[in-house]
Amino acid sequence: MTARGDVVITGVGVVTAAVTGDSAALGAFLAAPSVQGDGALSAGAVATLVDPTEARRLSRVCQLTIGAARIALGESGLDPGIGLGLVLGTEFGDLCSTHSFADGFLARGPAGLSALLFPNTVMNTMVATTAIAVGAREMALTLNAPTVAGELAVARAAAAVAAGRVPAMLAGGVDELDPVVERELTHLGLGAERRGEGAAFVVLEPRAAARARGAIVLGEVSAAAWRALPARPWGVGRSRRSRAIGAALRAAGARPSDVGWVYASGSRDEARDRWESQVLGAALGTKTLVSSLGQLLGRHAGLGVLRVAAAAWTARSGLLPLTNGTTRVERVRPGRGLVHGLARGGAHVALVVDAA
């Protein structure tokens, strides 16, 4: 799907170990990025996201999701009553609850099964609980994809707004660290990748609607597209011709030289990172500055959305955090940039982001 035309960002909500807050908090972090720890959110940090009553009935990953969604909606000042949709990307969903549910059975047989845990084993539980928490009553989708789930959610939501199908969308991503997943990724030879956890949301709406209600516009998703490059499941392909970037640039009426900088999905998965570099190089040339926040914050589906919010910040500020080896902030041309994600298996997403 290709989204085009006057879809703006009016709210940002981020919940990660390194930064939690709205667009201002994210901007402050990006201007002087530093990270300590392993990317895992502390119990104390999670406890601040929802009230104790909610915390008792919500799984941890649902708490992360709702926390980030509320921050984004709060910043935008949008009334969900106008018609709010929700798209959430996730790679692993609430696998922790699934383990717990299965462990109950393995320990005690049918008597050990929890009726409260079962709904969390379905991957759309975060969307269902968030829709209830924020009053989103239009379309609500959970998109599952390796690596690019967050970017895909923003692209899909932008398309819905651009087509006029939904008055406004909350687009987000979420994942949490799970010991079983980490162990299995290591078995698959992907243990070197930097992984993290968290949630992030942006509020998307038509520019005219945002202007009419006096909202502050943080950036514009000028175009978005997703396609698939040929690759075996979980494999790295050889094709460098990105149809997603081409489609997004065409939809934005932009040339490759208009793209001043890129937020890419690099995260120390060497084979995939190399493939993405080749794809970006073929589409944009090799001189375009590329930031890979995954190397700093660890990859999770929320990061894809955070990178869209970061791109809006870079488009405004002309600052780009670079994280290759050392961390530094470069001054770049404000204005148009690209958010790109490429997954093992070939799914890839491109979003053209502009200043407001």
């Binding site: 049918p110 009053g135 959970t142 998109l143 599952n144 997703w226 799914a347």
Partner: protein, 391 residues
């Protein structure tokens, strides 16, 4: 917006492989719900479900759900006569919930006894089906996997329709798939939502649902493209509506507002009036609440007795992510053949369901317009509206 037509159908159902077997079983009112063999059921009150019988497509190294998807998707692509070149830019949208969970559970159970080798994490996620299908059939257009619980398969069709209507692609393969899993079986047992006998949607004595498995895929095309290549057109997907209850994670809004909004949105998009719709393939799970609320919602939109209603789940169980797409196929075939498939096991109609629910025996009716409803956990509603042939 471009008009969207259906040019290929594929099914892997408890009747076996293929659309022919699926329609033959449905139209004959054959219930396939019986003792489960794929998973252990000791200690559970309900021990039945509808399993796909017979050999599966694809390599035995793939997960059961992947193999169900490959069979149904391959049939749909062949039915639409889409060649390699046609597929290169085609979109792929898959609705899935369990992914390769059946195999992952077997691994997890063994791991609990310290006898398991590392799992194949790559196959467990719902998105694994889309990767397998894209790789197998050379589908290089937009690809995504939607997880909206029991409405996933129908949402996938709606998503593909939007891609075509918005002019992003001219052709798409879309549908849903799920294999029976222990987690699903145990979970619905724990929620006491399963009937220990084959489910009886819309019956006064209904006691809950029966689980099932399968895959249903459709090829959707822009009408212009289908006409240009003189493709066989089964039906037009005239409209769809997607809404959310935002009410409860496992229970539908008792007022049925989300369902009503989905049905009205589908009518609006199709520019159809309620009186044009002659048949609703209901979500019809057989649970006390769902059937009653759906009936109320149908009555609010179409009027009491305003259309025929039946539930395919009475015959093939609730096939989870596949349900919405398999039932959409049933709706399209009902339009094609002029036959409304029945609701099996319906002995005593519930007086709170003010519709003719076509008990036991299929009915010959000249149909021109029908809807298929799907309502998922978390209040995720979708209605698809089909018109016969190329409208």
């Amino acid at each position: 917006m471009k008009r969207v037509v259906i040019t290929g159908l594929g099914a892997a159902s408890p009747y076996g492989a293929g659309v022919v077997a699926y329609w033959k079983g449905l139209s004959a009112g054959v219930c396939t719900i019986r003792d489960l063999t794929l998973i252990e059921t000791d200690g559970f009150r309900c021990r039945i479900g509808a399993e796909v019988s017979g050999p599966l497509a694809g390599s035995t190294r793939r997960t059961r759900a992947d193999r169900l998807a490959i069979g149904a998707a391959g049939e749909a692509l062949a039915d639409a006569a889409l060649g390699t070149r046609d597929r290169r830019g085609a979109a792929l949208v898959v609705g899935a919930v369990g992914g390769g969970m059946l195999e992952a559970e077997a691994w997890y159970w063994r791991a609990a006894r310290d006898t398991a080798s590392p799992a194949t994490l790559r196959a467990v996620l719902p998105s694994a089906h889309a990767e397998a299908l894209a790789s197998r059939f050379g589908l290089g257009g937009p690809r995504h996997t939607v997880v909206t619980a029991c409405s996933s398969g129908a949402i996938a069709l709606a998503e593909a329709a939007e891609l075509i209507a918005d002019g992003v692609v001219d052709v798409a393969l879309a549908g849903g798939v799920d294999a029976i899993t222990r987690i699903c079986f145990m979970g619905f047992n724990t929620l006491k939502l399963l009937d220990s006998t084959p489910c009886r949607p819309f019956d006064r004595e209904r006691r809950g649902m029966s689980i099932g498995e399968g895959a249903g895929f459709m090829v959707l095309e822009s009408e212009a493209r289908a006409r240009a290549r003189r493709a066989r057109v089964y039906a037009t997907l005239g409209g769809h509506g997607m809404t959310t209850d935002a009410f409860h994670v496992t229970a539908p809004d008792p007022d049925g507002d989300g369902m009503v909004r989905a049905m009205r949105a589908a009518l609006r998009q199709a520019d159809a009036t309620p009186t044009e719709v002659q048949y609703a393939n209901a979500h019809g799970t057989g649970t006390l609440q769902n059937d009653r609320i759906e009936a109320r919602a149908l009555a609010r939109v179409f009027g009491e007795g305003g259309l025929l209603v039946s539930s395919s789940k009475s015959m093939i169980g609730h096939t989870m992510a596949a349900a919405g797409s398999l039932e959409a196929i049933a709706t399209v075939l009902a339009l094609e053949h002029g036959v409304v498939p029945p609701t099996a096991n319906l002995a005593t109609p519930d007086p709170e369901v003010p519709f003719d629910c076509v008990a036991h025996t299929a009915r010959a009716v000249h149909l021109t317009c029908a809807i298929s409803n799907s309502f998922g956990f978390g209040g995720q509603n979708v209605t698809l509206l089909f018109r016969r042939g190329s409208a």
